[in-house]
């Protein structure tokens, strides 16, 4: 090799080193121990029948380290998830009212003196604790969708994300399997749900002491899905309370007026947000014996909500005919 070619090779090696070693990549190398299949033959074991799958339901908020989901929207289906090594205290909502399958959960805000600095968060003992850090879970595999999904973590935040073509198959068993990383591997289960189809112009009207009657196309007989109704009044994410209701997937349900009143009593400002979600929910305890990861298969649709006598607006969202937008206060008058 001539000196000239040595220089060229050195330059290219330098480039190669800079492109690979000099700039950080995502997952650790040993995370590539994928496909640790279910038997010694290297072939994955068949998934159990949907009727045989047992769901452990949602995590308790106090130990919910993370969530994985197969989330179907009107446009696409995504698989996504993340798990931390702890719980952010403000995400542990307090149940302040309960009736008819509904729970009104209120956000608490712990106080620390002095306030916690960057990288810390305040717990309910008034102590600053490390802000929970997302963790490496190794390769995460989801089976039972239209295609097998295998995900490596992405940075920052050890996020897992994929968009499988066509998404989920209603009635089919879905398995989530995390292969390692921070904790021993774990698996959780779901069943593909039918799309939640709602009229595009559906509007829920929230009025004092008035039940909200919900209707949707019921799931097929034998479906494993349930339906969750969610309603809050967003205040830049600091909603004082959020209303959750879980109903059988029968096509109709009633949200009690007393629960609506409880939500209204927590304050009406900003933009009301409502959704109806058909879903299955499972969860799995992590190997630390404390943390829990949730796995949700969901088809959710947002629904327009109006609070009687209170119509928000801004330059991008004009008022109905006959009303004018007071942009200073973002309300139709």
């Amino acid at each position: 090799m001539t000196h000239a070619w040595k220089y060229l090779a050195a330059a290219l090696l330098a480039v190669g080193w800079l492109t690979t070693a000099g700039c950080p990549t995502g997952a650790d190398d040993d995370d590539t121990a994928v496909g640790d299949d279910d038997d010694a033959t290297g072939e994955e074991t068949p998934l159990p029948a949907p009727a045989d799958v047992e769901f452990d339901g949602a995590c308790d908020l106090a130990n919910k380290y993370g969530r994985f989901g197969v989330d179907e929207t009107a446009d696409y289906t995504s698989v996504q998830g993340q798990s931390s090594d702890g719980v952010v205290p403000v995400t542990v909502l307090r149940n302040i009212q309960e009736e008819g399958g509904c729970r009104l959960l209120k956000r608490e805000n712990p106080f620390c003196d002095p306030p916690c600095g960057p990288g810390f968060t305040c717990d309910y003992d008034g102590e600053c604790i490390d802000f929970p850090e997302p963790q490496d879970l190794g390769i995460v595999i989801v089976r039972g969708l239209t295609e097998r999904v295998e995900m490596e973590p992405r940075q920052p935040g050890w996020n897992y994300f994929a968009v499988p073509e066509d998404g989920m198959i209603p009635g089919e068993t879905v398995q989530l399997r995390a292969t390692g990383g921070r904790w021993d591997g774990f698996e959780a289960w779901g069943v593909g749900v039918e799309s939640m189809v709602l009229p595009e112009d559906l509007l829920w009207t929230i009025a004092e002491a008035t039940d909200v009657e919900l209707e949707w196309p019921a799931a097929a007989a034998g479906a494993r899905s349930e339906v969750q109704f969610k309603l809050n009044i967003d205040q830049h994410g600091t909603s004082p309370a959020t209303l959750f209701c879980d109903f059988p997937d029968t096509g109709s349900a009633t949200v009690p007026g007393s629960m609506i009143d409880g939500l209204r009593a927590a304050g009406v400002t900003g933009w009301p947000a409502g959704s109806l979600s058909r879903r299955t929910v499972d969860s799995e305890m992590l190997s630390d014996g404390v943390g829990c990861v949730e796995f949700e298969i969901a088809s959710a649709r947002n629904v327009m909500v109006t609070v009687s006598g209170y119509i928000p607006c801004n330059s991008a969202n004009p008022c109905p005919d006959g009303l004018e937008c007071n942009e200073a206060i973002e309300l139709c008058e």
């Binding site: 000196h3 000239a4 220089y7 060229l8 050195a10 330059a11 330098a14 480039v15 800079l18 492109t19 700039c23 989330d71 446009d75 696409y76 995504s78 996504q80 403000v90 956000r107 805000n109 620390c112 003196d113 002095p114 306030p115 916690c116 600095g117 960057p118 990288g119 968060t121 305040c122 802000f131 850090e133 997302p134 992405r154 940075q155 920052p156 935040g157 996020n159 994300f161 968009v163 205040q235 830049h236 994410g237 600091t238 909603s239 004082p240 959020t242 209204r264 927590a266 304050g267 009406v268 400002t269 900003g270 947000a273 006598g309 801004n314 991008a316 007071n326 200073a328 206060i329 973002e330």
Partner: protein
Amino acid sequence: MLHRLFPAILLLVLPLTGCPTDEPPPPTVWECRIPAGEDVDFARQIGCEADFDFLASLPLDASIPGARSAKTVLDRTEADAQYFQNSNRYLIHWEFATAHLSAPDHAPVPQLAQFNTTEYFSPSRRFLLGAVTYYAGPGVFVWEIAPYDTMDVDMITTAFRSIRDNTFFGERLKFHPTSEAVSSTAAGLPDDIPIITTDELFAGIDYQPLNLATSMGRLAFVEAEDVERVEFRDIVVLEVVPNDISAVQGLITQAFQTPLSHVNVLSQNRGTPNMGLRNAWTNETLRGLEGAWVELTVGAFEWSVREVTREEADEWWEENRPDPIDVGPMDTTVQTIVDIGDVLDLENLSLEEAISAAVPAFGGKATHFAGLNEVPGVPNPPAFVVPVYFFDQYMTQNGFWDRVEAMLVDEDFLSDTEVRLATLAELRDDMEVGTVDPAFETMLIDKMNNDFPGVRMRFRSSTNAEDIGGFNGAGLYTSRTGDLSDPERPVLDAVRKVWASVYTDRAFSERTYYGIDHRNIGMALLCHRSFPDEDANGVAITANIYDPAGLQPGFYVNVQEGEASVVLPDPGVTTDQFIYYYTQSGQPIVYLFHSNQVPAGETVLTNAEAFELGQALEAIHNYFLPVYGGTAAFYGMDVEFKFDSSAGNGSELYVKQARPYPGWGAVE
């Protein structure tokens, strides 16, 4: 030969690696990045003023006047991709991120609540979020992060440099810490990030919008000593901030006001424009219109004045004169002193009904105080109420009602300001020395001796036309201290002086402006122990008065060391004024002004005291929500409080008043 090319090869290929070099990039030639007339959702760079103007909106929080902001998003999953969002279309970061940086082309952006749990707090957050803001007063571009954002030094540095390198004003860009917590972090920033403080921004601001409104009236420059002689159709220019002012159509003060000053609360109640303007007294535009009929508009970011004809002004007045407020007659059926816990009939009535039922007998202040007494966790002193019956008795027994009746049909009194002022002064003088019914005197003294032995008491006005929805009555009436064991502070003198304040010039004028029948006005007395040795006193609004849309919920607090006034500080005296983001993680405090009555670098309230106050404000806000909130455009309670250690238990919080706050431009 090739060895000579080695450096050149490296130079050619290094940029492809994506890694930085030490070589400074060539200076950017800035041109507009948004084609003229094109409507875009975001830009990757701001190349000219037109780009900024297109992307920027009025900030959600207008606590520092004259600002326009474009929100910034740095996506760390995409090699620190920089975005400047169309902030008119996307009011908050989440809306933009959801629309443009989410699945299926990007990693999903979570729901709003989850987004806000991580993206302003997590060390491993995906986004670095902020806003570039142009402050017109001082003429500076700054980059700001949310006051509750816990970005560390590296994050701020990364984001700031990205903004700097992607904007035409980058070389002039400064970092503005928006809260005490952010200031602490900013102290560790490297030297290439210049910092500008809130104080420095305010120093460059000439215009202070206090109440957003438009009105027409006659422009009058008024000396402080003549403030009682203004006419109700005047738009008044003053050098100083008066404690009170009779009903006028607009107010411009050369001195800046505190938002909770009586004149501002009254302006808000009346729906009339109110602003501070440096050098207003010599402002050529205003001086050129002195004595003329004008239209004054106070906007969130700018003001305007134009001459109109008398006919236009008359027409405007006819269309906009306030609707008469029907206070209704006093309720004189309650003929004994009542403990505060017995004022509201909450066993049989809703809170709203109970308040409506109690006000005619106990007045607005005492009724709301009774409500405070019901709010768990809100400390207020034990109290009793002298109902309006005894005021009515005093007026009748001394012949004062007859004199009021005569005044109200006297043409001279009604049409001549000097006659009116003199007649009212004479009535007040006589009311301060009238004869108190002996049975009432005995009842009052027995009550004080039995329930408050040896306690110096505060007698506070509580008319049936104050602290009610639609009529605030801030500062119209007076309070006095009485002590049975102190000959310098006779109890009956206190009672009579408070009763006489029903007929102050301003109270009379204000009621007249609103068409309130003076014959219906009675005054109850709210009585509780006095606070002669306050550690701190203040007023607070249970809402962020600078964010009428409610997207940045917080409490506004104005507090001062000791007993000094917060609503009308002495000249040269400043108070602590801050927005308390109580519902946000870490409860950040954003100081707008600092008190000069405490050592530099200190604050009037400790963090723990602010949190205790926040708990009380939240409880009060929620308690009165069904009455004054509901679907109201803007809801907040105006709360007076103090910290006092005279009980010997350390500095304790007491809430002494709560009333509905009219809001910022919320009154028609």
